[in-house]
């Protein structure tokens, strides 16, 4: 008799995460442990598609990862309801917590590849985590769908043909903010600014992209000060005081995750937003939902995949309906990007007609696909999907939702091609040769 070891996909995620008391944990662990002692027999006739999901439920990225986990579970459950990929390959999701730490992510990537034989890895919220696992997936020839890790290095300096990026990269994202900020500079006559960012790959890359792009667009605007803080910072008062003491015309923040929520709360309490304009900080649907009361109205923010910007897209409509039915909530940006990644994978498999990694990789190369953000195409030279680079808008109370969104009348959606590395020759110059 064959017995299958329980997988995270067999459970409702919330139940695993929240409803497990100590006794249940011990019993479940013992039972699961006993089950793993039973040899895993090959499942006759059914070839399972094994997917590795690497996201943090601890660390600063946990704030966003919940949406990603829900989206992957929802999408795979829907595909499995039809029999799996191509109607005959049920998807098995092997989840691992990266703790938002690169060395843990690398370890877990190795684990799911060697032990669970996954064919694709999805997730890796943190860019540093994504870069750590790129070494492993490249060597083992495993597909990597970077749904939310968006350092530009992932598709440029650290490029591997096995990684496909479904989110706008950090250079695109900061470039899109510059488009909006440049207009404000012109309108308000701003001369100086300061930046504050998370001292890690994404924060550094995003800040650098912003500063360089702004220098090109508005050479007269001077950077007065750069402030960096460690991931997971909980006390921002000294940073906020330093911003105010510099008396800039505006401040730019490269902050995401729990840190972003903490920073906005403390900055608001200290009156930063009344004294210094703060355009272009990350305000995704997560922030809109979690800080629905406190988020300053009129604040200019940036989102990556806000559902309300694409209500006309059939895939987005389908996903909103599915997400609301299951969770009684609207999907976050992070859910949206992960949903696109899974459906992107399905479209590539449908196109090639088999689930072999090399075939799927070839099908994804330069592919045009349906996404929640409309039709999008992978750039040939670095596998960057040409979805919008950023959604810049002002926080506004909508009568349609129980939380604020960006005012649709003033929201700017910046196209990828406007702000990404201009030519493929430029991209190739950045890409380092791999052994």
């Amino acid at each position: 008799m064959s017995m299958k070891r329980p997988h995270i996909s067999d459970h409702k995620w919330e139940q695993v995460l929240k409803s497990m008391d100590r006794r249940e944990f011990i019993v479940t662990s013992a039972a699961a442990g006993a089950l793993t002692m039973v040899p895993r027999f090959a499942q006759a006739a059914v070839e399972t598609y094994r997917l590795g999901l690497l996201l943090p439920v601890t660390g600063t990225g946990a704030n966003y990862a919940d949406g990603g986990i829900k989206a992957v579970m929802n999408a795979t459950a829907a595909i499995n309801a039809k029999g799996g990929f191509l109607g005959k390959h049920p998807i098995e999701v092997n989840y691992r917590d990266t703790h938002t730490k690169p060395d843990v992510a690398a370890r877990e990537a190795r684990d799911v590849i060697s032990r669970e034989n996954v064919q694709t890895i999805v997730g890796t919220y943190s860019s540093a985590c994504a870069m750590a696992i790129q070494e492993i997936i490249h060597e083992r020839k495993i597909l990597h769908l970077a749904a939310t890790s968006n350092s530009s290095k992932i598709v440029n300096e650290n490029f591997t043909p096995y990684t496909y990026q479904f989110c706008p990269n950090s250079k695109m994202q900061s470039g899109s903010v510059v488009v909006a900020v440049a207009e404000m500079i012109k309108k308000n006559g701003w001369k100086t600014y300061v930046t504050i960012g998370q001292d890690y790959e994404w924060g550094r890359d995003t800040q650098k992209g912003f500063v360089e792009a702004l220098a090109r667009k508005s050479a007269g605007t001077k950077l007065k000060k750069e402030l960096w803080f460690k991931l997971g910072e909980t006390e921002f008062s000294s940073y906020i005081s330093a911003i105010m003491a510099s008396k800039p015309d505006f401040a730019y923040g490269a902050i995401a995750g729990k840190d972003n929520r903490t920073f906005i709360r403390q900055a608001q309490a200290m009156g930063l937003f009344k004294r210094v304009a703060y355009p272009g900080g990350l305000i995704s649907v997560t922030e809109m939902q979690q800080q629905r009361k406190s988020l300053p109205r009129g604040m200019i923010g940036l989102a990556r995949c806000p559902f309300f910007a694409h209500l006309d897209q059939p895939l987005m409509q389908k996903y909103i309906k599915m997400h609301r039915a299951k969770h009684d909530a609207y999907p976050t940006d992070w859910a949206c990007m992960h949903y696109d990644a899974i459906y992107g994978l399905e479209q590539a498999i449908n196109k090639t007609g088999n689930i072999g990694t090399e075939a799927v990789k070839a099908a994804l190369k330069g592919a045009t696909m349906d996404t929640c953000r409309g039709k999008a195409t992978f750039r040939d030279c670095n596998n960057q999907l040409n979805i919008p680079a950023g959604y810049v808008g002002s926080v506004w109370d909508s009568p349609d939702y129980p939380f604020p969104i960006f005012n649709p009348d003033t929201m700017i959606i910046v196209k990828a091609e406007e702000v990404w590395t201009p030519t493929c020759d430029d991209v190739r110059k950045l890409q380092k040769k791999r052994a």
């Binding site: 070891r5 329980p6 997988h7 995270i8 695993v16 995460l17 497990m20 944990f25 479940t28 662990s29 699961a32 442990g33 793993t36 439920v57 601890t58 989840y95 691992r96 917590d97 730490k101 690169p102 060395d103 690398a106 370890r107 877990e108 190795r110 684990d111 060697s114 032990r115 860019s127 540093a128 870069m131 750590a132 790129q134 070494e135 492993i136 060597e139 290095k153 650290n158 001292d199 890690y200 790959e201 550094r204 960096w228 460690k230 991931l231 380092k432 040769k433 791999r434 052994a435």
Partner: protein, 335 residues
Amino acid sequence: MVLLVVGFPLVPALPGMFWTEVATEILILGLFAMSFNLIYGYMGQISFGHAAFFGLGAYGTAILFRELSGGTGAITMGQFFVALSVGPPVAALGALVVGFFCVRLTGIYFAILTLAFGELLFYVVFSWYTFTGGDDGIQRLLPPPFFRDATAYYYLTLVIVFGAAAVMWRITRSPFGYVLRNMRENQLRTRFLGIDVRRYMLVNFVIAGAFAGMAGALWGPFTRSVGPLLLGWQESGIAVFMTLIGGAGYFAGPAIGSIIYTFLQAYVTGFTVYWPLTIGTVILLIVLFSPGGLLAVFDAKVGFRLGRTPIAPGETPNGEAETGAAVTAETKAGS
């Protein structure tokens, strides 16, 4: 010990690559924990910053690796071994500087100072983007083609770790090792014997740092990347946990702790995200019911010595030691 020596070379015979990789991790972290035990189990001082030397060794190797390969990951066999050999001296140098200050103190002050230096070094590596890569760390640490195979790298690790363990064993059995134990029991008495306690502590600190660096040097090419968290206090905690699990009073204790910790981690993370809860529970149980570690229980029941440190001079006839956490643990188990 015999089981370890016989069992480890047979691991690659198990089906699949997974267990070979887990065993490689066990060996590297085991070496790291054994180097920590030179300070804790033998010298009687606890270091919460020992990962700094593990990280320095890893970064020393990784930076030279990056320079030699030009960032592509292509490296010759000779260059690979040169890069590997740089880890221990870099870590030893770091330990010399840190140890110079730390050995002036003992007990909790020693522990806090090692923690402070560990965090200092972590922040230097974390912030020095142009040299260490900051939070990104350093990627593309691909060994030469022969050692990319998990089995080949495992045997390389096995040889180095067993060699290092043999050297450590010899050190702990040398007059120097006995001086360390003497210091652990009573520094004042040791000083009265005319021994320069600080100098001995510093030398041991540097030796422990070098072995931690050796473990770090092996870690980078194994995971193909290094990150600043390798120097963090949580990494130091892993060495402490492993030593507590196995038993600080035994030479093989940290190695046994590494086997249990790493195996448990590989096993538990396969079906639950509650790994920190699991390891916390294990440590709690060990501290409450077997403070001398699992080897102490085994030793008490079966009577094997397993490299247990000889009865310390501070022990009283009823088996209680005057000072030293490690000795207290082992004597309780042995009484």
